[in-house]
Symmetry: C2
Subunit: 217 residues, 2 copies
């Protein structure tokens, strides 16, 4: 019996598939999911309209129907990131015992960044985003609100107190943002290697948070 010659594994014919439905059904979410996959695999530079469309199995002009342009797609993806970050911060706040909320929130912030480095990097690249997009504005506001909830509970504070509260908030934010950025860039690798037990970035964060006291208000 003659066996059929094994076909060389050729690239998926992709588009003109016979049984493939013309409409995708939920292309918008499929594109966002593929974009996030590309982002975590190859960084912000890997995010192009064509690559995303390719990954979703769709013509590269198709995303325009859902996002307008590339900045739109990136903005909606970043908005999703801010939404998730805000939720993580709020959740950490809610679960932490009184007096430990700042630390809990800081840990949640860094944990989010380390778990989603690509998304975190995109969120920190405003020049690639369109700030006018409602989804992005809303998600940003939501994440900020979570951050600010730590010190926002005193609407009647005097001017001096107000400024001190703002400084505390900015200090915590700066600390955890800086830690996340530096950790993701591998800047602590050398330092950690010299420490006994060679801690990782997550456990070292506890040391770092412990090394800092926010001055009492």
């Amino acid at each position: 019996m003659r066996m059929p010659t094994p076909q060389p594994a050729r690239p998926q014919p992709a588009r003109p598939q016979p049984g493939r439905p013309y409409h995708h059904g939920d292309l918008r979410h499929a594109l966002l999911a593929e974009a996030e996959r590309l982002l975590e695999a190859g960084g912000v530079a890997a995010l192009t309209l064509r690559a995303v469309a390719r990954g979703a199995g769709v013509t590269h002009a198709a995303p325009a129907n859902h996002f307008g342009d590339l900045a739109g797609l990136l903005s909606d993806l970043a908005a999703d990131g801010y939404r998730r970050l805000g939720a993580a911060l709020a959740g950490a706040m809610a679960q932490a015992p009184a007096g430990r909320q700042a630390g809990a929130m800081g840990r949640a912030y860094v944990a989010f960044a380390l778990a989603h480095p690509g998304l975190f990097a995109l969120m920190g690249r405003p020049e690639r985003l369109d700030p006018a997009r409602p989804a992005l504005r809303d998600a940003l506001a939501q994440a900020r609100a979570a951050l600010e909830s730590l010190v926002a509970a005193r609407p009647h504070a005097g001017a001096r107190t107000k400024r001190r509260l703002a400084a505390q908030q900015a200090a915590l934010w700066s600390l955890v943002h800086g830690y996340a950025v530096l950790a993701l860039d591998g800047r602590f690798a050398g330092l950690l290697a010299t420490l006994p037990g060679t801690p990782d970035e997550t456990s070292f964060l506890d040391d770092v948070l412990g090394a800092v006291t926010l001055a009492e208000t």
Copy 2:
């Protein structure tokens, strides 16, 4: 008397200038200077071999003689940034009275970032740089040494103390790096606008540094 028709201001004929010497003389530095100019004017995305060469009035293949490729040029530029940052940190340390050195260094770090936002951004984009370049390695090491000089004076510390010192160093670094990044992204703008006197990012940094105490060793 007939006045000559005013010539439309046409773009500099650029290359085939008659009197122009074939050899530039110091093209390497001219390219670095132009690259930094472009960087501060248009961000990291504006840095292409062709744009830099164009700005320096030279063929776009010329930079290869001095930097090999684009990553080489960016790396040497970033190296210069680290050298200057390291010098600024060391200078601030040297001038500050004992006990105020951490604050002085933090202020110098943020001041550098705010004065050279493009360069600072490039330094924080390791994926665009070539870490194997000796100039970059050296400059990085120099800047780190300045940062570490704050707590590096105790080589015989025990394990617990060592880890605490490392945590303090990382905390200060994270704080000022995060502050610089967030300030440059305009993240404090809304917050500052609500404060009495609407401070700018530089004076607000004093508040932020004042809001934080590094735990005693």
